[in-house]
Amino acid sequence: MPIHDQGYRHYAGERALRRRAWWVIARAGIMERLRERRFLGLLLFSWSLFLMRAVQLYLGTTIAQASFLAPTEETFHQFLNQQRIFVFFITIYAGAGLIANDRQSNALQIYLSKPITRHEYIAGKLLTLAAFLVAVTWLPAMLLLLLQVLFSGGVEFVSGHPRLIPAITLASFLQVSLAVMTMVALSSLSRSRRFVSMLYAGIVFFGAALDGVLRISTGNPAWALVSPQNTLAVVTDAVFGNASPSAVPVSVALVALGVLLGISIFILERRVRAVEVVG
């Protein structure tokens, strides 16, 4: 009996044309990563600082002799800054292949031949990476705040620092947005996940190194603008109400980040297509 005689039945069930493909894509991407033990290990390890900070909060709020460990707004600012290293590694691990792998296996024409738009596809990919980055920035920072409330037995700290929750949220949002948009745009440029990883690491490290060299040689701290990470730091410092060691005005830093995000959107618009037109 030919194998195709095993039958084909028409489908009479539900068909949804509502715009939810971005969620299907994001969910599949997240589940695929979570199936990898190495990635799970990295994700768990990225919570190690949270544990240390939780211990600090416990000691600072419950033991009088350790009151010097009591949290301030700066505690949460520092925590988010320290998480940048994990943001970097998770961005590379979970982000480099997001579009590069699809380009390598010609999956874009499969995706875009379905009833989804390019924007839904891109949104699904952005959300995949953003979910992991939120899980190592905003989520642990907010949990630390919750632990502070639980350990101290009151909401005095939170009510005494009304801008803390918006600051954590805004700083995390900026950190995650910059990493996600840059990485997904870079991922659309190549078919090689490894090349994209190197490109991203190059931008991060080369930018920081160039900033350092130019600052030392010229004595001008405004060179922070050549490093996306240091430009972001200018903004997050301002969000937490700290004076930045850089001479760059916050508005200029925001414009620089806006330009970077604009370039990322432009790249994604150009590169995510089912049909590549050469020449």
Partner: protein, 324 residues
């Protein structure tokens, strides 16, 4: 939400036309920069199995991608299953299955996850997509290998899984771009049988793009021949073969080039290389003796003459010949 195959309010008044001609193109041109990939194409593709023929670069894949709404036309209108492709590309793609020409899969997935994922992307609920994925994988002959990672599949299996992902949401129209590429003869026969079966017993209209004439002749009833981005000829294969008049296979000795020139001067079409068997098309009213007379007059001897059956190859050759 769309739950019924016939629930298409915007096409209700013209549904007869769309049922007869699921794909309609009116003066469609598609350009890649300065290159004209499709030139003023006007064609109504009927329901059933339709072959899209043409040499490399004729515009077959471009036509399919334009019909999927992936390539915007520079001019003209396209309707697929009653939907204007420019205005409702999502609605078109929800009802259409596409099997791309080159190797394409979503990395890191086994076959059943991949096909179910494609079903979900096409709008099926998760549980239904998974159930359909199992069914379709059995249908295309990958039931036993459905838990294997797609990246470990052979070329033939990859062709089958591309067909499975195109079928999972039960499309009304299927675009197959070179479906037998890279398959061994047995796999090719099975794939063509599958394709033929889909069109004939499952009532799914399919457009099979291929440069392999035997594949199209086996699987399709109707053909559209593209050449240099324009429609060279179209119609039912039987009709196109029937209107070719008579075909003779001919081998001559002597000045073959002069003889071929004489045939052309007499208004007879011939195809074939010098030194090979020529295929000569003769209108019904002209007797085959004319070939002997022409050969004698132009220094050639007819060594072999045999009436032949018009094939799709003849249709193709004539169509391209007329255009060139």
């Amino acid at each position: 939400m769309n739950t019924d195959r016939s629930d298409r309010s915007d096409r209700s008044d013209r549904s007869d036309r769309w049922d007869r001609s699921p794909v309609v193109l009116e003066n469609v041109s598609v350009n890649y920069g300065k290159h004209h990939a499709l030139r003023d194409v006007t064609v109504e593709i009927p329901a059933g199995a339709v072959g899209l023929l043409g040499p490399n670069g004729a515009g077959k894949s471009t036509l399919i991608k334009a019909l999927l709404g992936l390539l915007p036309p520079a001019s003209g209108r396209m309707h697929v299953l009653g939907y204007d492709v420019n205005k409702a590309p999502r609605a078109v793609r929800a009802r259409v299955g596409y099997m791309p020409e080159n190797d394409a899969h979503i990395p890191g997935m086994n076959a059943v996850s991949f096909v179910a994922y494609c079903g979900e992307l096409a709008g099926l609920p998760r549980a239904d997509a998974m159930q359909r994925a199992h069914e379709v994988l059995f249908h295309v002959g990958l039931g036993e290998a459905r838990y294997r990672n797609v990246e470990t599949y052979s070329a033939g299996m990859k062709q089958r899984i591309k067909l499975a992902q195109a079928l999972v949401h039960d499309p009304d129209l299927l675009f197959l771009d070179e479906p037998t590429n890279g398959m061994d003869p047995k796999g090719r026969d099975e794939m063509l049988a599958l394709v033929r079966d889909i069109a004939t017993t499952k009532a799914i209209t399919l457009i099979l793009s291929s440069h392999l004439l035997p594949d199209v002749e086996f699987a399709c009833d109707h053909v559209v021949v593209l050449h240099k981005g324009a429609v060279a000829t179209q119609g039912p294969i039987k009709t196109l073969k029937g209107t070719s008049g008579r075909v003779f296979e001919l081998r001559v000795k002597g000045d073959e080039a002069r003889f071929a020139e004489a045939l052309r001067a007499e208004g007879l079409e011939s195809h074939g290389e010098i030194g090979e068997v020529m295929r000569v098309f003769m209108p019904e009213h002209q007797p085959p003796q004319l070939l002997f007379q022409l050969a004698a007059r132009h220094g050639a001897q007819v060594r072999h003459l045999r009436p032949s059956v018009p094939s799709l190859e003849d249709v193709f050759a004539r169509a391209l010949g007329e255009e060139m």
